[in-house]
Amino acid sequence: MRVKTSRFGEVELSQDDILEFSEGLLGFGQLRRFIVLDDPNDEIFAWLQSCENPDIAFPILEPELFAGSYAIEIPRSDLEALHLDAQKDGRLFNIITIPKDPTQMTANMKAPILINVKKRLARQCVLQDNSLQIREPIFIKLQQRVVQNPETRFKPDAVAIGAVPVKRAPEAEM
């Protein structure tokens, strides 16, 4: 099947690539079906793209890239909704906000996305811990990690997560 996206054109994918957010994301409750996109022009960010609204896509990152000590407890009810026995059986991502000045980029630590990769279920989990920031500055930590590990691949393995590659946009070549 094909999904239209405003950023990456038409994307070819199979039904199995789709992640079901049974309750949507906060503020986007009506959007239930998303895919993870892999942009070959970008070595860091993965995208969580809506299958139902071409304009809606979120840059996402795995927290270990910038928050080594991100010890959170996902509520039992969230794990049950995702059919996960334990938090470690899921893949965790944070939604990133990138302003015009990218050094001011932030991650939402308070409401991460947890994915049951096998069952293709996903959820934005709001954590009770009030020390977690909704806009945690991450640029410096992320840059340290990236610069110190020049050979590492930072994006999630596309096959492991079920990410769909998008075509390389020649005009975006940098």
Binding site: F8, D42, D55, I56, F58, P59, K110
Partner: protein, 78 residues
Amino acid sequence: MLVLTRKLGESITIDDNIKIRVEKIRGKQVRLGIEAPKETRIYREEVYNAIKEQNEESSQTNPDLARAAAKLLKTEKK
């Protein structure tokens, strides 16, 4: 909006399965106890709004900006 007056220890019920009770009143703070089915999502309003706002902002990210940010991240700090 429906406005009800409740005393300490009194409750309101919503539908058959949601109960909100005034647990404690101290100065300007009220502590509420909420019983609801586990799939009911309950948030402090300011937290809900802040997350929603962050989601909305992130959902409009330009991919060129992300690519530029990714490139900048790979550049050693001077």
